[in-house]
């Protein structure tokens, strides 16, 4: 496992220059609570047909900061991004919608249904 | 397509694979992981099983409350909740005297009904346990 630290501003450029869609695939986005209102965000990649080659890009952010979206480069990141919005309460560019539904959400099945 | 056709036809004259369940009981293998058995005489009250149990289905709770002497391990009583148990047999592996003090049978728990107060009874025990810690 190789860990590469990047700054929040350069994360998009770093991933863009690194990511070749025929060689790497995104495993997931991961969050890690470090201290009071500080957290680490990780982008975990793995290489096709290679022995255990995993690259982790990570950056440390304040909880109030917004992390950039990488959906335009890696379409499958959308679902991890939406999950991280809900799990850590961070903001992700363009993914203001979370993944999980509140109990009183209008999108819940059978919401607005009264018997 | 024709093989399934023929198979469906020959199946007509075969004994069904499934059994008439509630009437015909299911036979469980000897090594099936089922309820945990407990032998009080052999138990040395090391409480290893209680610590090892992932869901916390084994509790040693003092008989008298509050206990006169907290060090008196013999004042503890073994409680086991078969409905919380995940039958992983971690406790049996942790037990210093397996087969005598603690063992795993291949029996399934009875279906619990409301009168058993499975949950409420257990919550009271958990509360007691917490108070004495």
């Amino acid at each position: 496992m190789k860990k590469i630290k990047v700054s929040l501003e350069s994360v998009r450029d770093e991933i863009k220059s690194f990511y070749d869609y025929k060689q790497w695939h995104l495993l997931t986005l991961n969050g890690l609570a470090l201290a009071e209102n500080k957290m680490e965000v990780q982008w975990i990649f793995s290489k096709y047909e290679a022995m255990d080659e995993i690259v982790v890009y990570y950056t440390e952010i304040e909880n109030t900061e917004t992390i950039p979206s990488i959906v335009d480069m890696i379409p499958s990141a959308i679902i991890s991004q939406r999950e991280i919005v809900d799990m850590f309460g961070v903001k992700v560019d363009g993914s203001e919608k979370g993944l999980y539904l509140d109990e009183d959400s209008m999108q819940r099945p059978l919401s607005g249904c009264s018997i | 397509m024709f093989t399934s056709f023929a198979k469906a036809f020959t199946n007509l004259f075969k004994k069904p694979q499934t059994i008439d369940y509630p009437l015909t009981p299911i036979v469980k293998d000897r090594d099936y992981r089922g309820l945990i058995g407990y032998g009080e005489e052999a138990c040395i009250y090391c409480l290893k099983c209680e610590k090892a149990c992932p869901p916390g289905a084994i509790l040693f709770v003092p008989v008298e409350n509050p206990p006169e002497n907290k060090q008196n391990k013999k004042g503890l009583k073994y409680h086991y909740n078969p409905y919380l148990c995940i039958y992983c047999s971690e406790c049996v592996r942790a037990c210093p005297k397996p087969d005598e003090a603690l063992w795993q049978s291949n029996k399934k728990p009875e279906v619990a009904v409301m009168d058993d107060r499975v949950n409420e009874g257990w919550f009271e025990l958990e509360k007691l346990k917490k108070q004495n810690d």
């Binding site: - | 056709f5 469906a8 199946n11 007509l12 069904p16 694979q17 499934t18």
Partner: protein, 274 residues
């Protein structure tokens, strides 16, 4: 007298037939299956359930579907005109289709659409069948057809075409796209509930009676042949049900309309000129 008793107990016979078919199907799939009287247990359960009325027309049309179908069965048993029977049966299908369109559910709409398309595919075959019977027996009356000898030899191609109609009507693979449990959750049935669904459920049993009574017309006055036909086709339909997947509406129409019409027309032309 016997006829009226038959008419009254027709749904019960249909239910027994349906229950028996479920047992046979379970055995074909090598499993225990439900008891013979399961349809009736289901019925009692449905009666106990709370019934929701989505809108009155929907419910009324559903009940009308059942009543019309019962009348259809009654007409066949009484030996009425075959053309009347077929058109009245079409009417009962139309009631069901309208019921499906009268609610908001998407599944119900798709179900109605498919039901309509299926009716388009099998109705010409039924009509050609009536024409075929007329050409052989000189009458559309079922009573007359029953008095004549077996017409299965001269109407063999139509008989084959009719075999394709049976799975559509009984909602069996490969032609069960109109109901399509896994896709549209029963289609038109979806918005019926409780006792009103029971009417639809009983209509299904009557559908069994209708289909097999029409089939027995091919045997004419030969009752043994009629029973033989019934058993053979019953087994065949269930075996095919157990050997095929559900095909799409598009394929259903191509196959049933294309093949069925060809078979039917060949048979009629043959009858007219040979």
């Amino acid at each position: 007298m016997i006829e009226s008793i038959f008419i009254i107990i027709a749904p019960i016979i249909g239910g027994l037939l349906y229950g028996f078919e479920r047992v046979v199907r379970a055995r074909m799939q090598n499993r225990q299956g439900p008891p013979l009287l399961q349809p009736f247990y289901d019925m009692f359960k449905l009666i106990d359930k709370q019934a929701f009325i989505v809108n009155p027309y929907h419910t009324i049309l559903g009940v009308m579907h059942f009543i019309t179908l019962w009348i259809v069965v009654a007409f066949i048993i009484m030996g009425q005109n075959l053309l009347y029977v077929i058109f009245l049966h079409l009417l009962s299908s139309i009631f069901l289709i309208l019921a499906g369109f009268s609610v908001k559910s998407v599944y119900s709409h798709i179900g109605s659409n498919r039901e309509l398309l299926a009716a388009l595919a099998y109705e010409p075959i039924l009509i050609m069948m009536a024409v075929g019977f007329f050409m052989v027996n000189g009458s559309f009356d079922i009573a007359v057809i029953r008095e004549h000898g077996a017409s299965i030899v001269s109407l063999f191609l139509l008989f084959l075409a009719y075999l394709m109609v049976i799975p559509i009507k009984l909602k069996k693979s490969p032609f069960d796209a109109t109901e399509a449990h896994q896709e549209i959750v029963g289609g038109v049935e979806i918005e019926f509930s409780g006792i009103f669904f029971e009417f639809l459920y009983m209509a299904k049993w009557l559908e069994y009676i209708f289909v097999y009574l029409l089939l027995m017309l091919f045997a004419g006055d030969n009752i043994l042949l009629g029973i033989g036909l019934f058993i053979g086709v019953f087994l065949l339909v269930n075996l095919v049900d157990n050997a095929t997947a559900r095909i799409k509406m598009k394929h259903l129409i191509t196959i049933v309309l294309g093949l069925g019409l060809t078979l039917g027309i060949c048979n009629l032309i043959g009858l007219a000129y040979v």
